[in-house]
């Protein structure tokens, strides 16, 4: 993962913003896909995360990897995001302009497994989702604990519970 030094921020904020969104757009996709069930909520959450990244960029602390920082911002927005049930009112409409576009058919060979994986994540509570997402990204337990501000043993218990749920699901 790339570390962005504060010195790199001397380029204008606008350019930096576009650069980090372009480089790490996958983070936003994975978080919105995990936290929202319908695409209207996903689009709203994407907008909210992008707005918050723009807003928080001024206070970016280079003690963090940019990916960790983005994860923190995006997870905080996703957890506190108010999900309005728009599935009914927008039942017959489609979003013409999406901020992030990705067709899961591009992963044809893994498509079904991926859908199942996202289904499994969406069944977890918001905090367990955050733990699992960071775990899947390869963060170690102490990094996850620091991002959530809980103890490492708490993280370990949560991961154990997620493994249990996964086993039950597979059985």
């Amino acid at each position: 993962m790339q570390i962005l030094q504060k010195s790199e921020m001397n380029v204008d904020k606008h350019g930096l913003y576009l650069e980090i969104i372009e480089k790490h757009k996958g983070i936003i996709f994975k978080i919105t896909r995990s936290y929202c069930k319908n695409e209207f909520d996903r689009e709203d959450l994407t907008q909210e995360i992008l707005a918050q990244i723009w807003r928080s960029l001024d206070t970016y602390n280079d003690a963090f990897k940019i990916t960790t920082w983005m994860y923190r911002v995006a997870l905080n927005v996703a957890i506190s995001f108010y999900r309005k049930d728009k599935s009914v009112s927008h039942k017959h409409t489609e979003i013409d302009d999406k901020l992030l576009s990705y067709d899961m058919n591009q992963e044809a060979e893994n498509k079904q497994s991926l859908i199942k994986l996202y289904e499994f994540i969406s069944e977890l509570n918001d905090i367990d989702k955050a733990v699992l997402l960071m775990y899947l990204e390869g963060e170690n337990q102490s990094e996850i604990a620091a991002n959530l501000n809980i103890t490492v043993s708490n993280v370990s218990t949560k991961i154990g519970r997620i493994k249990e749920k996964l086993k039950q699901k597979a059985a």
Partner: protein, 219 residues
């Protein structure tokens, strides 16, 4: 599938995303400019407008008190209402300060606690403001004076005054009871739960649940 297999699939998925995903740059530009419309900013703008409104009320009431100075019911009423308007103004300024403090790049728990502080602050200001309900006659006395130029209190009989004072006492008891009950732990009560959601929003309930989820270590 176990967690390790899941992790390896996730890594492949992440690589694929970086390769194949596209960002709508023109829309991103548009939304960036609109970032002022983010939920947090909307709340700050709403609180600022409310603060301005409370400031106008405080200013107008002081103006009235100074211009009509004397120990009359309308002036005393204006003074009482002024205290509540100041509470409202201070409460809104406090909300703006708390909202400005929110930093989404902090740890999840810290951010949740900051967000809960905003919602709880809202609830506490509401509790202080509803303390004005037992003093409802202050609104009536001041309204009569401003609209009809009549000091209603001086025209009331002793019996009427006692009747209104008794109603105020009943309201006082009800308000104290409500304030004591309006706590997150009493959300199971239908009326309290409804009022709690109306005042502090469903979000406080959700955020409190999230912090509980963070702290929970056993299944």
């Amino acid at each position: 599938m176990n967690l390790e297999q899941m992790q390896s699939m996730w890594q492949d998925h992440s690589e694929k995303l970086d390769e194949c995903m596209s960002v709508n740059k023109s829309l991103l530009e548009e939304k960036k400019i609109e970032s002022k419309k983010s939920e947090l900013n909307k709340l700050i703008v709403a609180r600022s407008l409310e603060s301005f409104l409370f400031f106008v009320i405080v200013f107008s009431l002081w103006k009235y008190i100074v211009s009509s100075w004397g120990l009359t019911a309308p002036v005393v009423s204006a003074f009482i209402l002024n205290i509540f308007a100041i509470i409202g103004l201070a409460g809104n300024i406090g909300q703006i300060a708390l909202l400005s403090k929110i930093d989404f790049s902090k740890s999840v728990k810290e951010t949740m606690i900051d967000l809960i502080a905003v919602r709880s602050h809202n609830l506490n200001v509401f509790k202080l403001i509803i303390l004005s309900i037992p003093l409802y006659m202050a609104y009536v006395f001041l309204g009569y004076e401003i609209v009809f130029d009549v000091d209603l209190f001086s025209l009331m009989s002793e019996e009427t005054k006692i009747a209104f004072a008794s109603i105020s006492l009943v309201f006082g008891g009800l308000v104290v009871y409500l304030i004591k009950k309006l706590k997150p732990e009493n959300r199971d009560n239908k009326l309290i739960g409804w009022l709690f959601n109306e005042v502090s929003g469903e979000r406080l309930t959700r955020l409190l649940d999230e912090v509980d989820n963070l702290e929970t270590v056993s299944a």
